[in-house]
């Protein structure tokens, strides 16, 4: 089955470019706002968008994303709303969409039902934060059947033998968590990033994206030297929190994404 994530990485490789992946919580600041925000960040140079499914107990997220999820939940956003948002984006854009979620909202929705609806809505990948290799098998098979890539995480604490096993079952791309910690901005990126990414390269041909803590153009530049794509989340989400005029938000996020992704264009 064709998949927009695969196609995008193939194109990036052809063009000799590195990808920019932008994260947003779906439904923050409102369900209606997300599709225009995705338009803006796509126009600003984002190659893939990660949409966060808000959850009451986001234990892998730092405060910026926690508050973002709380805002979305207060607006009544649930998984059905998120899929509705994806459908709306699909009426005008072919940008690859990865849902970034905790497992329980998906379990509550019904996993098979979710996979069917996500496929129909136009979701390309699912990254479940609290679903490590040992638990992922049956969920991955359900997503496989729908042509949805089940994205695997590798962390700095993952030992080499385990990296190999995760890579063997990975789909779409590998998401390397660039530091031990939760999501959120950092002053500098981990010093041993290059070594870890090289370890992963040795055992997979899949593209590798690096995320968690990347928040400045300099970080993006540094990470893109070794990775195939760079994920920025909190630095973008923070703009949503800061903004008092929702109408100005697409322009603000566009500017921010253009600034953050600039190092990927000037190569």
């Amino acid at each position: 089955m064709k998949n927009r994530i695969d196609e995008r990485f193939a194109r990036l490789a052809r063009e000799g470019r590195k990808g920019f992946i932008a994260y947003l919580t779906a439904g923050d600041p409102s369900p209606a706002a997300t599709a225009p925000l995705v338009d803006a960040i796509e126009a600003a140079g984002a190659d893939i968008v990660e949409l966060g499914v808000p959850f009451s107990d986001p234990l892998a997220d730092g405060v910026v994303n926690q508050r973002s999820a709380e805002r979305a939940l207060r607006r009544g956003v649930n998984l059905a709303t998120v899929l509705e948002i994806v459908r709306r984006i699909r009426t005008r854009s072919e940008i690859p969409i990865v849902l970034f979620t905790y497992l329980n909202p998906v379990v509550a929705y019904g996993f098979e039902r979710f996979a069917a609806h996500a496929q129909r809505a136009g979701v390309d990948g699912v990254l479940a934060l609290d679903l490590p290799l040992e638990e992922a098998g049956r969920y991955r098979r359900i997503l496989d059947a729908r042509g949805i890539r089940s994205i695997a995480l590798i962390a700095p604490t993952t030992p080499p033998e385990r990296v190999r096993r995760i890579a063997r079952h990975a789909r779409g791309f590998i998401y390397y968590v660039s530091r031990t910690g939760v999501t959120g901005e950092q002053r500098q990126i981990a010093f041993d990033l290059a070594r870890h990414v090289r370890t992963i390269r040795q055992v997979t041909t899949l593209p590798i994206a690096v995320g968690f803590g990347i928040s400045t153009p300099a970080h993006v530049k540094e990470a893109s030297r070794i990775a195939d794509a760079v994920v920025v989340g909190s630095a973008i989400v923070k703009e949503i929190e800061r903004c008092r005029r929702p109408a100005a938000l697409p322009a603000i996020l566009g500017r921010r994404v253009r600034q953050l992704s600039a190092p990927l264009r000037s190569r």
Partner: protein, 403 residues
């Protein structure tokens, strides 16, 4: 005879419940913990050290006390109390903290973190950290730090840092989220001393093994004084560690009936409770698959109970397994009934139980009067009530005021 337990498989599943649903960063630490725990369990030196600490430091074995006036008041079975309230720091929590503290040292981790609701587990962890020379940080919902200010000070006196948690609903579940975030960040030098039989594998198994001492002692003590096994065991269930600790060594004896008592809060129908089995359904929460109180979208709901220790949306996966197999019966009592239980045990036996424990007393008041006089019941007095005196006082005031 087939042992009717739900012992976990290699992946930490008790039947359909359990597992390890955590971010990848934590998986290697949980695997290391599982390895070290397995090794320590089989190591005579570790066992001897833990046994000595439980005896000389925590004051075990705790007594099994016959309760003559409570027995008379109920007019049914003979009532025994397993006195975990007499364990050092005032609750069963110390059993687990000593085990995990020694394990942390064995793994070379110099820093421990813990979550706490009312503060019992936080105090026990801070105590063990002081004794073993470990750095200690305790996460506590901001709401709870206010209600339990004295326990906060107590932990600080023991050298721990108490961090008020302001995210989410600012209660126990958010304290666990925050402790997990700390752990994800500092996993290389830090051990997370989880206080109950919930969370990702191997915690439900490991904490049970450290709490089994309650049931093992009870079994020996009741055989000594009565010459036979009890007919019935009663314990309150928050995460479920005191209950599983008492129940586990009796699971293979079908004649011993068991009751787990959850917090009914203002009544299960009010929606303000922590009764996971009558008011929740299976889901993935804080590391494992188990019964959890959630809305139709899978968002975890805030719970309510007069007792902070039972005020939790999740429950240990082994309890979910025992619930579905029918081996243990789970039921709930309300805040008001628990308050009656507190007063009853205080006035009849001179023992003021923790409000958590008071739920078990209240449930006993419901079922023991229907039992026969030659039967035996054991209630786990999981903790003492000093910490709750303020809460009881204001609840009684409200009650008098409303008259």
């Amino acid at each position: 005879m087939k042992k009717r337990t739900c012992s976990p498989d290699r992946r930490g599943y008790f039947g359909a419940y359990g597992g390890r649903f955590v971010p990848e960063t934590l998986v290697p630490a949980l695997q290391q913990l599982q390895r070290e725990f397995t090794r320590a369990r089989g190591d005579p030196r570790f066992r001897a050290e833990l046994r000595a600490m439980l005896r000389d430091y925590a004051g075990r074995p705790t007594p099994l006390t016959f309760a003559p006036r409570l027995t008379e008041a109920f007019g049914g079975a003979r009532v025994y109390l397993k006195r975990e309230d007499l364990a050092f720091t005032g609750a069963h929590k110390i059993n687990n903290c000593l085990g995990q503290g020694l394990l942390a040292k064995r793994m070379g981790k110099r820093r421990v973190i813990a979550e706490t609701g009312a503060g019992q587990h936080g105090v026990a962890t801070a105590t063990v950290a002081a004794r073993l020379g470990l750095q200690c940080r305790v996460y506590m919902g901001e709401e709870d730090t206010r209600r339990q200010a004295l326990n906060v000070f107590r932990m600080e006196l023991l050298g721990a840092t108490v961090v008020p948690v302001t995210s989410g609903s600012r209660t126990l579940k958010d304290a666990i989220d925050e402790a997990m975030r700390d752990w994800v960040t500092n996993v290389r030098n830090t051990h997370f001393v989880l206080g109950t039989v919930a969370g990702p594998h191997p915690y439900p198994l490991m904490v049970r093994e450290f709490q089994r001492v309650i049931g093992r002692e009870t079994r020996r003590q009741v055989l000594n004084s009565e010459g036979r096994l009890p007919d019935c065991l009663i314990a309150c269930v928050g995460g479920g560690s005191n209950a599983i600790g008492l129940f586990y060594d009796f699971l293979g004896d079908p004649a011993v009936r068991m009751y787990g008592v959850e917090a009914g809060g203002l009544g299960v129908r009010s929606g303000r409770h922590a009764a996971r089995f009558s008011g929740g359904r299976p889901g993935v929460f804080q590391g494992s698959m188990s019964y959890v109180i959630q809305d139709s979208d899978g968002q975890i709901r805030t719970t309510h109970s007069i007792s902070a220790g039972l005020d939790y949306a999740g429950v240990g996966p082994e309890h979910s397994c025992l619930y579905e197999s029918g081996r243990v019966r789970y039921d709930s009592v309300t805040d008001r009934e628990a308050l009656e239980g507190f007063l009853l045990l205080s006035s009849l036996e001179g023992i003021s139980p923790a409000l958590e424990t008071a739920h078990a007393i209240a449930y006993a008041a419901r079922i023991v009067p229907r039992m026969k006089k030659n039967q035996i019941v054991v209630i786990n007095i999981s903790g003492r009530g000093d910490k709750d005196v303020e809460i009881v006082r204001s609840a009684l005031r409200r009650r008098t005021g409303a008259r």
